[in-house]
Symmetry: C2
Subunit: 550 residues, 2 copies
């Protein structure tokens, strides 16, 4: 009955979708019930095990015409189940350890629905009311985790009381994700470096061309290790620097920025009269999970008067573990920090944050309009890159309260323990090679049959190079096959480890943040990879031949 | 029982929030039930009628320390109801006609939950699979609404079949909202205008400073009417133009860009050797809802070879009404178009889109990384400003299917009819002045007692000016009081209408997009405003005196 309400496109029928809820026996209500009661079961039952090739999936999404007539909600629900959900990715599966998306706490499901139902718009108080102070509070809490505590006495109760809800200050900003957070941080760094000066009204008003001319810089650069996230290149492009102005500093054997190289680059850049917009430390590189020596970088930034940004999109949550916090020593000296709550804070997609040490940082990007964001207002939109935004801060708040700092600590410590266990497992296997050790809960490795491993220890550089190329093919093959078979998923990336004389090799990449990933699952993943490798033997005659020739 | 599971922060207990759903008798389950079955009732019951001052609300959001220990979900739920929901805004109320957020169709609630449960990440196929072709399809559908049909024969079935899912092309991009959409469009315009040329590798690689030097432009500007959205200033700042490089073109008495002034500005800009990055047409100005003469602007853009962008964040959905579509004539000639599905497409917050006429437009912003967005991949993240993004396209798709084009047409036509009805109502009242007529479903007006109105027709300019200032106070007073009393809400803005010789006056601003807003509600809103005005008489002695002196 309720599903038939849209049989005809009458005005009356159309109103019903705004006023009459889904019937309890409707397909959509059934989906919702299953999602609420057993999310993992629902996803396992409804996502097909064996992946269809993308080109086949695309066949279901060919129609480019908006349908002329309304359609039953039930028909839509069936269609979405068949076409979309069936071919989506079970990102919260404990055996899908290839990406940064993990399981979600159950209480976030009803809360997400409440958030959508409330449909607040955080751009201004008029459309968000209490959500505005809530968001400021959540930012305050994260800010205090980063900058407060015993580390800087200045950041005490009194400080937060005075700045958290002030119209003149901003401890940070919510945004859709790490990319916008990084752009926001560098935007502020740019506008601060090229601020008003004498008759020059600042880059914000007069633009980058006039700013560079005024300040006499030959170029404007961002310094970051070669493991920096690709969003920094995008940020440079957007902000009017060139992508070539992301100056890549080489990393040491642990994928951390090499301080000597950094010093050298700074000397060179100063000599060519380049403006250094920001020095970016990475706290959890996307590819290996390593953390730059932030404290040493902060020393350099301080000495040189350079803006220091830490991209902790992935690793930022680690600050909540007192046990692991020392790994991030120095982050409290950063001018700005990017943290994604949708990564290791277990919040759904779309919850990025940027924190500012100085609560007046955002003055250089403040903007106003006639109908909102009036001067002196507390509208959050006056200092965010985005405009209209949903109330995601409620979900972050909920997680902080329900898990508590100690709960996050437990989750984070456990993730790292799991990664270390997996590293031990890989090291104990004859046919695998651990490529990067887990510092946080991320590691990389590859499959290398023992005979090949042994041979590589004796052969010359040229042979080694050839074998590595063949192993790269094998890694790609195994990763793809494993993904397609649907039981488990690891991702892959390319690294140039010292151990392979700088040759770029393809590796499996695992993120062990899902608390439901068990030791048995990890054993199974390795076993499956060995199985696939064996099957693929015939499809890799070159390696076979090479082995045979040993 | 289920609520007690987090009494102690044991690892076992923490796991339960990932594995055991909310108990059916829990507070959160009850909230969810109410939201699902009677959203309006839930919001009316739980949002307090009379608004607390923000400073009081802030008292509930003072704690800057992340709680050390886990907390019961039930305690959190109670807290959120008391502190947050109670003091939030009933944005979907039919009597809240002051903002662009409207009622949501019921079926989006369970679908939103499904979206969160699936937690796909649209940055790449590995974490979104079928959601990627779905998003491409939704963009394709909107693209065809904008550019296809009988208007351009080139955009037929065959065209969409060939480009919609191609790795080399992109018909648009999803993003969090109109601001990011506008920035994306202007980013592309900038990188196209300042592309590779001879030995110059393009602004994307070499940066804006070198690009301007290479091309010899004195400055880079964006042309838009003075009614352009404030996000364009932000876009200019972010992209390295100055905010002063947003060249404001004056509008005619209907708040549409004045073509003569536009021509004149172009002539001046060419004379000073400025590069014109983009001419931006507004399809639904935020403050008055008017649409620029897009077709004439397209003529000029074509003649001058200027990128033509249409900011249809709010008005874009109007394209789906065949009856109203002529209002947007010329939009199909735009190089890019911004549309927010969370405005007149009735989708929850966070669903912006930008469409590109030329499916190769995004080549100039394409970026890659080692582990995702590899060359030749169909990962959406290779040409979006944002990185990780949720699967909002599913909600847009659902609306397109369930409402159909004709359903949207009905909603849009009805909104405009409602606005026209309200305008008639205002015109029929002695004590109100309609300031801007509704072209779409947005209008502005103010309260002016008849005696004052009559007097203003006879008095001199100076007196008129004084009275207008007093009326501005009165408008602000009424708007604030009405909002605080909680029964209804109109917003306010400032305009400089011709009828008042360019004096800036404060007006009520109404958006009539909520299909549940009835004629009676509109009558009540006017009645309430008159009531408040009468009460406020004593607090506005100056006007009283003025009236008395008549």
């Amino acid at each position: 009955m309720s599903d038939k309400r849209l049989a005809a496109a009458s005005e009356e029928n159309l109103f019903r979708i705004f006023t009459i809820p889904e019937a309890p026996d409707s397909t959509l209500a059934r989906i919702e019930q299953e999602v609420s009661q057993n999310l993992d079961g629902f996803l396992r039952d409804n996502i097909v095990a064996v992946e269809k090739p993308l080109s086949e999936i695309e066949q279901d999404f060919q129609d480019s015409v908006v349908p002329e007539h309304p359609q039953f909600v039930s028909a839509l629900a069936d269609e979405l189940l068949d076409k979309l959900v069936a071919q989506s990715v079970h990102t919260s599966s404990p055996s899908f350890i290839g990406h940064m998306t993990s399981a979600l706490p159950y209480f976030l499901l009803p809360l997400s629905k409440l958030m959508v139902g409330l449909n607040q718009n955080l751009v201004k108080i008029e459309t968000s009311k209490a959500f505005t102070p809530l968001e400021r509070q959540v930012i305050g809490m994260l800010h205090r985790i980063a900058y407060g505590g015993t580390r800087t006495e200045a950041h005490n109760d009194q400080y937060y009381k005075s700045v958290m809800h002030s119209a003149d200050t901003s401890l940070g900003a919510f945004c859709s994700g790490g990319t916008v957070a990084n752009i926001s941080a560098l935007w502020i760094a740019r506008n601060t470096l090229l601020g008003p000066n004498g008759s020059f009204k600042g880059v914000s008003k007069e633009g980058l061309f006039r700013a560079m001319s005024h300040y006499g810089y030959s170029r404007l650069v961002v310094l970051v290790s070669e493991r920096g996230h690709y969003s920094l290149g995008k940020a440079a492009d957007v902000l009017g620097l060139g992508r070539q102005d992301i100056v890549s500093v080489k990393t040491d054997e642990n994928n951390k920025i090499c301080i000597e190289s950094l010093e050298q680059r700074i000397t060179e850049l100063k000599a060519e009269n380049a403006g250094i917009l920001s020095l970016v430390g990475v706290a959890g590189t996307t590819e290996t999970g390593n953390i730059d020596p932030l404290d040493k970088m902060a020393d350099i930034a301080e000495r040189e008067g350079i803006h220091f940004h830490v991209d902790a999109a992935w690793g930022g949550a680690t600050m909540m573990s007192n046990n692991q916090r020392p790994l991030l020593k120095g982050i409290e000296r950063a001018d700005s920090i990017t943290v994604d709550a949708h990564k290791q804070m277990y919040v759904p997609m779309g919850a990025g944050m940027v924190l500012f040490k100085d609560a007046h940082s955002t003055d250089v990007i403040e903007h106003h309009a006639e109908y909102i964001l009036r001067k002196g207002s507390k509208d959050l939109g006056s200092h965010t890159l985005e405009g209209s935004r949903p109330g995601m801060s409620m979900l972050v708040y909920a997680c902080l309260k329900v898990m508590g700092r100690s709960g996050y600590e437990m989750l984070i410590d456990r993730s790292i323990d799991t990664a270390k266990y997996f590293a031990d497992l890989i090291n104990a296997e004859d046919d695998f090679e651990l490529v990067s050790e887990p510092e946080l809960c991320l590691l990389t490795y590859r499959y290398v049959p023992k005979v090949v491993k042994d041979y590589m220890e004796t052969c010359d550089a040229e042979e080694k190079h050839i074998i590595n190329e063949l192993l790269n093919d094998l890694t790609r093959f195994i990763q793809k096959k494993q993904r397609e078979s649907g039981r488990s998923f690891v991702s892959r990336t390319r690294l140039t480890p010292k151990a392979h004389d700088g040759q770029t090799i393809t590796v499996f990449r695992c993120v062990l943040a899902n608390p439901l990933t068990t030791k048995d699952i990890l054993k199974d993943i390795l076993a499956e990879q060995k199985e696939i490798a064996k099957e693929s033997w015939r499809s890799l005659p070159a390696i076979l031949k090479k082995i045979a020739s040993l």
